[in-house]
Each structure stands twice: as structure tokens, then as C-alpha cells.
Symmetry: C2
Subunit: 654 residues, 2 copies
């Protein structure tokens, strides 16, 4: 914590530094990030790539007045270190510490909470347009990676931005990598520029023009045109940007602070949309991260010992279990095809790709089109399985509707990261998928409670002629759950739940991974002398109607448990079913994520506990429900005693 | 019905025709479309623009084997006329007649039900990829307009398609118009090509090369390269497509059948992704439609008398009411800014634009980025109002989440076309918005029952510091509803319902426009001696808890009514509230759209009636609920009589 970094309270302090000091600062920042991410886990390679660029941006712009929009936001650690968050950076991604993404509650320098890709440019366009209306001279900068810029909403924003008649700077941070290697024709096009050493020439060209460049307004624009002419001579410009209205500058070296500062000074006041193309190296400063940028994109805590880097391993994840389940399914069914949207590692499809390279597609950070591609394949007779995080499938909500549900196509969605995601926080929780998929016609929603169930889910999904979604969390699989008398996990039958434990004082109906917590809660309550039944719901759609009516007809509490919002989620589906069956729903208690709160980053277990979704919390709610139901029964009994048969009639007439 | 068209049962018949006959067929088709759309309403200008192109496509390809994907699908009438649907084309868009969009239930030539934009290319990519895996030589064609190709998912698909190493033909139908003039930098770029007469030269070039062109496989590709070289000499190619992996051909005249057939024959077997750029005239063949393509994009029935064309007017629409409400709001609040996504006419924002040209933005067919632009504006202190159809806001589901809800930004969404949309059918019903917006933190959901309420909604929304959505249908506003004793419409208060009619036998709680039907139902039941209360819910979120408990504590039925799916909709919100309050929900009946059915095109009134959501249907349900509740009360009374106080206890212990 000594050195220059510790003296930086805000970007103003940055501007007091000499060029050698700025370079030293860059190295200190790099080391600080490697240290903290090594301890806490987090986004490593992406942040190491933008150290110089971020320093240069804060050196040139005043982002309390100017506007800085981060795309995805997994590259904002440097920005955090420069805007007053070095002091608690050791707590990165831990409860109470800085979030791993820009966060409006942390700093006025963070304009948007982000995490999903492609949105920086359109929000920047909105802010630029607002600035025009408000007669503000604020400069607007959007920083976007080469993997994100081909996301649909980014392209839409770029297309609108090309119409602006004022300053707008879009910086394309091109490291030829997203979370995985960038996909698509555009990426191949960009790649051509990376293999040539031409951008060295651009630097020289810039140097030639800059001494004569005034710093503000229209003259700067003129200078830029000179600059561009010079660059054109050296490098073929990207007509793709020019054609939609941008002045294109680059490609240029994203690790040369001095050069970046010179360039940004010109671009700050260029009254025209500009695309600045910057080449950076993902993971720069940590050889292992440069060598394996996928593995070090967002690693668990790791330790560097000599030339060996060991990433903390943490048991068998749902992701690993899914990868094996998918491979198994593909072995048995030649129609199976695996798709991911830029998350081969995160979804386990990297393993699938190795096993079935011809039956694998990475659609890039483009969930919308990935779902459409899957629908096209399904229409042609394949059985596509889209492995997309719950939170990211939101981006394809309308494609799931039009291309899948409306056609009745049996596309299978495997939603990793469903429920609380732990240290990635509010923007990444998979807390909406049941609500937003449940309203779709003929959609089947399943959740496995353990690994054998995940396999069984997939087997059933492949037998059905309907669209299906299967959800599981960012967590490890539990030991397989078996009910007394069960030797193996029973197969999934459409709309049938599974009894895991019998007990007459209350029934917990748990969805997916909540079964483990529910069983533990039942065990806790057994110590209190209560016999609690546990049902593994297996389906959020269709709901097992017989199970609901059997449980409710006892008059004992039925407690639903889900790691999902209570607004329209699994519990609501049970409630709707009960009401449709004409059952008294007063014995129902729904446990899940609170409707109106955002749950911040921290450990997944702590997030569950905070919402009363751990075993202890569930046990407490069940106990309370039993007490309440007994009191109510007593009350009804008393009422019946006191007022006799007319009482109900009187109430009904009130 | 005489002439050539009546002899065309399938595209095979087309191939028997001579060139002069094909041209005559084109004129017959044009006249047929003008006649039927004049009578039934529908998409006029877009279909008149693609007559020759569609004939040429079906002439060259066999789309029972090859694949034809329509983007948006509002230009598929010609396709329908050529694929066996001429005989019932008079019933276009009427119940039982052909849908106004491609429809998989109508014909094997229709591969996808569509209506939302941008999806043809990615689904085509999926089908092309599947064909490769299946070793099929099927040619895949996606037809997309210049307004749709800049939609995010289209661009994403284009980007993926550029990687294919087989045939894929993307036809850019460039008429410089979407539903409204195309927006964005790319559109400006395309416009440069339209003003030049260069494509005439392309035709000559093609003619020069074609005689020597073999028709299949790699040789065709070689010929194409020659062709392209020739074209390059004449026109600057669109590097934007070349750079992402497409061979670019065009621009070419989309009304020259002969030329199109020659060109398509080459492209059919070109084993490489090709973008064919076709210039067409929207509305060609109907001068009034060419002159006013927005007005004649999708007109109501109209009559041509000499040089006057009169479009059937149909009373004051919700859209017109909204336009005036928005203008009023903008007069009173300088922060108000109006946004539409390519629907200035459909949302009424054309009128707003005239009043406040500087406070208006058309984001193009790009709902995702339009919402993000609005969020950027809102963050900068403006009060953006996004007028987007309910069904199209689905495209921005994730942007509403990340850029609006997660930031707590008070962006206002005005959802036109909420509920049944009548003759546009299943793909356009706004039947999901309550479910998919209700799960968002702090979101306020309102629906006005009449025009004064629409104004009141907007006034409240502008006072709140939360995101809001206001829904209203494709229909006319009813006469203002006033409860007995009310002189004017009371203002909206957050989470407070409004009593429209008192009555003790049951309470109908209606959302939005369903209030009118509910009042009529109450009137019908008054004739039967039943006193039915009607509550205008006003809010689907937050629900008026006091209203729910007051209504339920009577023990009489509470019947919720919404023109929205029953899965997670308004009724579910009421149900959740009742359950949270510990109330007996057995008296609740929820009326809405059935969860598992797709309701096809037809009249909106008929669609409501089909789902029991007209006054008669509601009355019937209410009556049934009253009978059932009374029987249940009688039953409970008997049970209490028969078994005394222990009965409940016994039940509770079962």
C-alpha cells in the first residue's frame, strides 16, 4: 500500500504525476489487482489489459462532469482503484467491499450498474443526446470490448450514435478475446489487423500531427481529419465504422500511456462520433493470464509459485456435472447439438466441444441470435441445447417467445447460475427465469436437486416435444439425495414431484437445489419433535396438482422454497394451482427472494441465509407456519363453538 | 379470380409460365393485394414492393426443400398467394382466413410464425448449419428489409453467418423505409446508393457475365467472383458486408423479374454467404402507397375513388389519446422526451414529433437500444417516455432490467397494443407484459380504464421516482367511466384502486380497459337481481392491499379480470397479495387469457369473447362463482353442524 497508488484519492491526484510516475502507477495497479484477485477471485485478465487506457482516460477527462460508460464492467477495477476505492479494494467482491462491477452506490464515477454486455454505447448515445438538449459540453466516452461490440444492442447503439452531431467517443478495446475468443465474421475481420505491425506506424503518424493540434472544438476536428489521412496512408481504415457515421482512429497501442493521453486530448473535443480502436493484451503483466486468458478471465482465488499457478479448486460444480450430462446425452442421441453464448468455460461446453467439435457452436456474446440459431436447427430436426446463464437468457426473452414457444419447438435451455450467484452480485443473480418463462405456452420448467436428477432432466427433455428449461446454480452438486427405500434416483415424469421425506406436521415443497436445504431444515425440526415432509417439486411448470392438493388437504402448512423472486415464481405457480383447485391457500407459505430488494454481492450461502433460504431460515419459517396454522385452526374452532352454525353465514353476508 | 393467378396452386405452376406471363402474374397479384387489403385492412405497401422478388424466388428455388425465412413477415402476402392460399385470400386476417404473417399451421412453405423483426437471418444461419450437419444441399434464403437488418439480433445473425462455409443467401430488400423511414447511420449510408443510378450498370454487368455462368457448385462461385469484379467497377461495394464475410452483390432492381431470376440462379448454388442488395419501391403499383408509405404500411380498410383514397376511420383510438396525453405532459414538464422504436404512427408519436421535434427520437426497429438510450437520458435528468407496443417491449426485457430497474431510473413505458390485438394475431398479442414486468423491483404497473385515466397515469408516473409501465389496447377509448357521485375522474394515487360501482354479491376487480366490460357485466347481472361491485384496480403493482382484504373479508367472490395471460398476471398478483395477507383465497376467481393456448387472428372483440372476457363471459363467471361460494358456505355450515368443534381439528391432524 505504499508507493504512488496509495496517494491517489481521486483522478485529480493523477494529473499531478509525471509520465514516469504514471508508468510506475500502472505497474503498482497491476500488482495490486493480481494480489487481490489472487486472494478473492475475480476478473483478472480483462482488468490487466486496460490499466494504461484507464489511467489515460482519467488523466484526460473529468468524469464527474464527463461521462464514462463501461461495457460489461468486468474491466473496471483500475477505474475503482483510481476513484477512491483503493482503500477497501482488499474486500473486492466480498460482502460490504467493492463490487466486481461498476456500482452506482459506490461512487459518482460509476454511472450504471452493469454486468450484461453491449449496453455502454446506447446508454452513451442517450447521455450524449441529453447533453445536447441540456446544452452541456460534457464529453461522453463508451468503452467496449471487441467481443461486446458485436452484441446486438451495441450495434444498434452504434448505428444510432452515428447520427450524432456532437462529441461521442467509442473506444473499441480490442484484445481479440471476450470471455472466450471473440466469435463471428467481424472478429475475423478485426483479426487481420492484429497480425500486422501496422499500428506502430500509426503512432508515428500521430506524433507527426499532434504538436500542431489545438485542444478544443472544431479545430481539433480538423486536426483529426489530418490525423486520419495520415493513418489511412498507413492502415486501411475500418470502413465498417466509417460507413455508419464514425470517424475511425486506430488501431493504436493500448499500453502506451503517453500516446493514449495525446490521442484522447484530441478526441475529447472532437465534435463528431469517433471510434478509437485500441489494441490491448488481455492479462498483460501476468504471463499465465496472457497465456490462458479464458482460464484467468474470472478465476477463483489462485496462488503463484514460481512458474506454477494453482487456482483454488472447489469440488464438483453443477457446471461440470452438466458438461458430463450433455456429453452423455449427445452420445445417446445424434441430434443433440450444444450451444453457448460466449461462455464455453462457464457453462462447461468447453468440455463438450472437445468431445463433439462438430456439434458445438459458440454464438458469441449474443444470446438473442444464439437462441434463434438454435431454433433454426431445431426446426431442421436437430435437438439443440442452449447452455446460457439464467441472467443472460433475459437477453433472449423475445427470441424464446417468437422463435421457440410460438413455433412449439423443443429447444432445451440449460440455465446455469440460476439463483444467487454469490460474489458477482445483483446484476448476475438468476432470480427471474421462472417468472419470465412460466408465462410461455407449453413451456416445461424443471430443476434438478442433485446430479443424477440433472441427468434425468435432460433425458426427459429430449423425450418431450416441447420447449424446456432446466435451472441449476453456481454451486457444487450435493451428495445425491435419496428418500428412504430408494436405491436409485427415479426418472423424471412430466409434472410429477418426488417425495423425499414423509412427515405430517408440515410439507416443504422445494424446487431444485433448495431440496438439500429443505431436508436439512426437516432434520433440524425433527430435533424439535416435528415431523416435516419434504417434496422435491421437480417441475415449476407443469405443477404437480395432485401433490398440491394432497399436501393442502391435510390442513397443515405447505411451505414452498425457491432461490428465485417471490413475484410470479415457483411459489406463485403452486399458489395459482391451489386456487384453481379451489383449495384453502391460507396454509401456504412462500419462501424465496424478496420482491423489492436487490441482494448485493457476497457469498452465495450468506445470500441464501439473508433471505431465510438456508436450512435454519427455512426451519424457522416452517415452525412459525405450524404455530400460525394451529392457532388459526384453534380460532376457527372457537368461532364455530361460540357462534354456532350461523356465524359463517353472517361473515359471508357482511 | 380469373387470369393467371387463379391457375397457380403451388410454385410448380409458376415455373410453367413464360416471362410475359410472369409479368402479367405480377400485375394480377398486385391488384389482388390492393383489393383485399382495401377491404380487410392489412400490410399494403410492404407487400406491393416484393411482388417480383417473391415470384423470382419461388421460380428459382423449391421451398419445400430449400428454406425461405421472412423477416418480420409483413411482406409475405405474395408468398401466400403463390403457395396455395389465393383461394381463401379474401378472408385475409379474418378469423379462419390466412394470417397476415407467415404461419406454420397454414402451409409447409411457412417455416416460422413471425412478426417481430430481425430474426430471419439468425434462424437461417441455424438452418444452414443444420443442413451442413445433415449433409443436405438445401439452399437457405433470408429476406430482410433495410429497417430490420440493423436490428440487433439481425446483425448478430449476420455476424455469425459470415463464418459459414456453405450457401447462405441474405437478401436485403432495400426500400429505404421500414414501417417508418429507416433510422441510423447505416440507413444514411445505404441512402447514398439510392440516389445514384448506378444499379442500372450492375444489370448490364450481370448480363455480360451470365451467359457463361454454370448453374451449380463451385463453378458458380467462380462466376460470382467475376460478377463481383464487374460490379466493383460500377459500384462501390458495401464493405460493411464484405468485412464480415459476405460476398456482396448489388444493388440491383427488385422489380425486374427476368434479371432477378438470372441472378438467383447463380446465387442458389454459390457455396458461400452472399448478401444480395435489392432496391424496391414500397407500395409499387399503388401511387397513394408510394407517396405515403407510412400511412399505407398497414392501413385500415380503405376506398380508392379517383385520386382520393379514404382510409376507414374508426373513432378515437387509445393511440390518439396517448399522443395528446404525451403532448400535454411535455407542455407541463420540459424534461419529458418521447421515444419510439420505428412506430411513430402506431404509437402516436408522429403527432408528438410535430409538436416537439427536438424532444423526440425514433430509435428504429431496435427496442433494446431505444430503451438504453432512454435510460441514458433519464440518468442525465430527462424524463424519457418510451412508447413501445407491449409485444415489442419483450425485445428489451433485459434492458428494462439492467439499464432501468437495476439503476432505479424513472423511465416511463407506455405499452400500446396491450392485450388482444385483433387481426395481427398470436405473435402480436400483448399478453405477457404484466408477468414479465411485475417481477422487477420497484416497478410500478398501471392501466387506465379510459382517456382521463390515461392522462392521470402519466401525471402520476412523472411525479414518481420509479420506473413505470402503463398499458392500453389496440382499441378505441370508451366514454369516460364515472362512479355514482363522481363529477370528474379522481387522480391516480400510488397503489390505490377506485370503486366504480358498489354491490354486495360479488366484487369484480378489473384491470385497465376491462373495467368497461366489468361494468357491463355488473349491469347484466343487475337484471338477474345480483348486486355486483366493480373496482378499477388501476395498479397491477403495487396491488391495493386494503381493497383486496375488504373485498375478500365479505366472503363473497372476488373476480379479477385482465386481458393478459393468467400465468403470473394481474390476477396472480391479487392472489399473492391475498395469500400474504393470510386471507382465504377460495372466493377468488381469475379471468384472463388461457395459459396454454395461442389465440389466433380475428376481431379483438371476438378474441375477448372467446376467452370469456366480454361482458357476457364475465357475467357468467361471476354468477358461477356466486353459486359456488354459496354452496361452499352451505357445505361448511353443514360440516360445522354435523361434526361440531372437533371436526376442524380432525381435519387438521389427517
Amino acid at each position: 500500500m505504499t508507493g504512488i497508488l496509495s496517494t491517489i484519492e481521486s483522478p485529480a491526484d493523477l494529473r499531478k504525476l509525471s509520465m514516469p510516475q504514471l508508468k510506475q502507477l500502472a505497474e503498482e495497479i497491476r500488482q495490486r489487482i493480481i494480489d487481490v484477485v489472487g486472494r478473492n477471485g475475480g476478473h483478472l485478465a480483462s482488468n490487466l489489459g486496460v490499466v494504461e487506457l484507464t489511467i489515460a482516460l482519467h488523466y484526460v477527462f473529468d468524469f464527474l462532469h464527463d461521462r464514462l460508460l463501461w461495457d460489461v464492467g468486468h474491466q473496471a477495477y483500475v477505474h475503482k482503484l483510481l476513484t477512491g476505492r483503493n482503500k477497501n479494494f482488499d474486500e473486492l467482491r466480498k460482502a460490504g467491499g467493492p463490487s466486481g462491477f461498476p456500482n452506482i452506490d459506490e461512487s459518482p464515477y460509476d454511472l450504471f450498474n452493469v454486468g450484461h454486455a453491449g449496453t455502454a454505447i446506447p446508454t452513451a448515445v442517450g447521455m450524449a443526446r441529453a447533453a445536447s438538449i441540456q446544452k452541456s459540453d460534457a464529453s461522453v466516452v463508451a468503452l467496449v470490448g471487441d467481443a461486446s461490440i458485436v452484441n446486438g444492442v451495441a450495434f444498434e447503439g452504434l448505428n444510432q450514435g452515428g447520427l450524432l452531431r456532437r462529441q461521442l467517443l467509442v473506444i473499441l478495446n480490442d484484445n481479440s478475446m471476450g470471455i472466450a475468443p471473440t466469435q463471428g465474421g467481424f472478429a475475423e475481420h478485426l483479426a487481420k489487423f492484429r497480425v500486422s505491425p501496422m499500428y506502430e506506424d500509426v503512432k508515428k503518424t500521430v506524433k507527426r500531427f499532434l504538436p500542431s493540434v489545438p485542444v478544443i472544438g472544431k479545430p481539433a476536428l480538423g486536426a483529426l481529419d489530418h490525423l486520419k489521412e495520415g493513418i489511412k496512408a498507413a492502415v486501411s481504415p475500418h470502413q465498417i465504422f466509417e460507413q455508419i457515421g464514425y470517424k475511425y482512429v486506430g488501431p493504436t497501442d493500448g499500453h502506451d500511456i503517453e500516446h493514449l493521453i495525446e490521442l484522447l486530448r484530441v478526441l475529447k473535443s472532437t465534435q463528431h462520433p469517433v471510434l478509437l480502436h485500441v489494441h490491448t493484451t488481455k492479462g498483460r503483466g501476468a504471463e499465465y493470464a496472457v497465456a490462458e486468458p479464458c482460464r484467468f478471465h474470472s478465476p477463483n482465488p489462485f496462488r503463484v509459485e514460481g512458474c506454477r499457478v494453482e487456482i483454488q479448486s472447489s469440488g464438483r460444480s453443477w457446471t461440470a456435472a452438466f458438461a458430463d450430462a450433455l456429453i452423455e446425452a449427445a452420445k445417446n442421441d445424434p441430434r443433440v447439438f450444444g450451444l453457448t453464448a460466449a461462455m464455453p468455460d462457464g457453462t462447461g461446453l468447453n468440455k463438450f466441444q472437445k468431445a463433439f467439435p462438430d456439434r458445438y457452436l459458440d454464438g458469441g456474446i449474443a444470446e438473442s441470435s444464439t437462441v434463434d440459431i438454435a431454433a433454426g436447427m431445431c426446426k431442421s430436426g436437430l435437438r439443440p441445447i442452449c447452455a446460457i446463464y439464467s441472467t443472460f437468457l433475459q437477453r433472449a426473452f423475445d427470441q424464446v417467445f417468437q422463435e421457440v414457444v410460438l413455433q412449439g419447438l423443443p429447444v432445451i435451455f440449460c440455465l446455469d447460475r440460476a439463483g444467487f450467484v454469490g460474489s458477482d452480485g445483483a446484476v448476475h443473480h438468476g432470480y427471474l427465469d421462472i417468472s419470465y418463462l412460466r408465462c410461455y405456452q407449453h413451456m416445461v420448467l424443471m430443476a434438478p436437486a442433485d446430479e443424477p436428477e440433472l441427468n434425468a432432466c435432460l433425458r426427459l427433455a429430449l423425450k418431450l416435444d416441447k420447449p424446456c428449461a432446466i435451472r441449476y446454480p453456481r454451486d457444487n452438486v450435493p451428495t445425491p439425495l435419496l428418500a428412504p427405500g430408494e436405491a436409485t434416483t427415479p426418472e423424471f415424469e412430466l409434472g410429477r414431484s418426488r417425495i423425499l421425506r414423509k412427515g405430517g406436521d408440515a410439507t416443504i415443497v422445494a424446487y431444485g437445489v433448495m431440496c438439500r436445504e429443505a431436508l436439512d431444515a426437516a432434520e433440524l425440526l425433527a430435533n424439535e419433535g416435528l415431523e416435516i415432509g419434504v417434496v422435491n417439486a421437480r417441475f415449476a411448470k407443469p405443477i404437480d396438482r395432485e401433490m398440491v392438493s394432497t399436501a393442502l388437504e391435510t390442513g397443515h402448512p405447505l411451505v414452498t422454497v425457491e432461490d428465485h423472486t417471490l413475484a410470479g415464481g415457483f411459489g406463485s405457480a403452486v399458489l395459482e394451482t391451489a386456487q384453481e383447485l379451489g383449495l384453502d391457500t391460507r396454509a401456504i407459505v412462500r419462501l424465496g427472494m424478496p420482491v423489492e430488494r436487490f441482494i448485493p454481492h457476497g457469498a452465495r450461502s450468506a445470500q441464501l441465509a439473508e433471505c431465510g433460504l438456508d436450512a435454519a431460515g427455512i426451519a424457522e419459517s416452517v415452525q412459525f407456519a405450524i404455530r400460525r396454522t394451529r392457532e388459526a385452526a384453534g380460532l376457527r374452532e372457537n368461532v364455530a363453538n361460540r357462534t354456532g352454525s350461523n356465524r359463517l353465514k353472517d361473515v359471508a353476508r357482511t
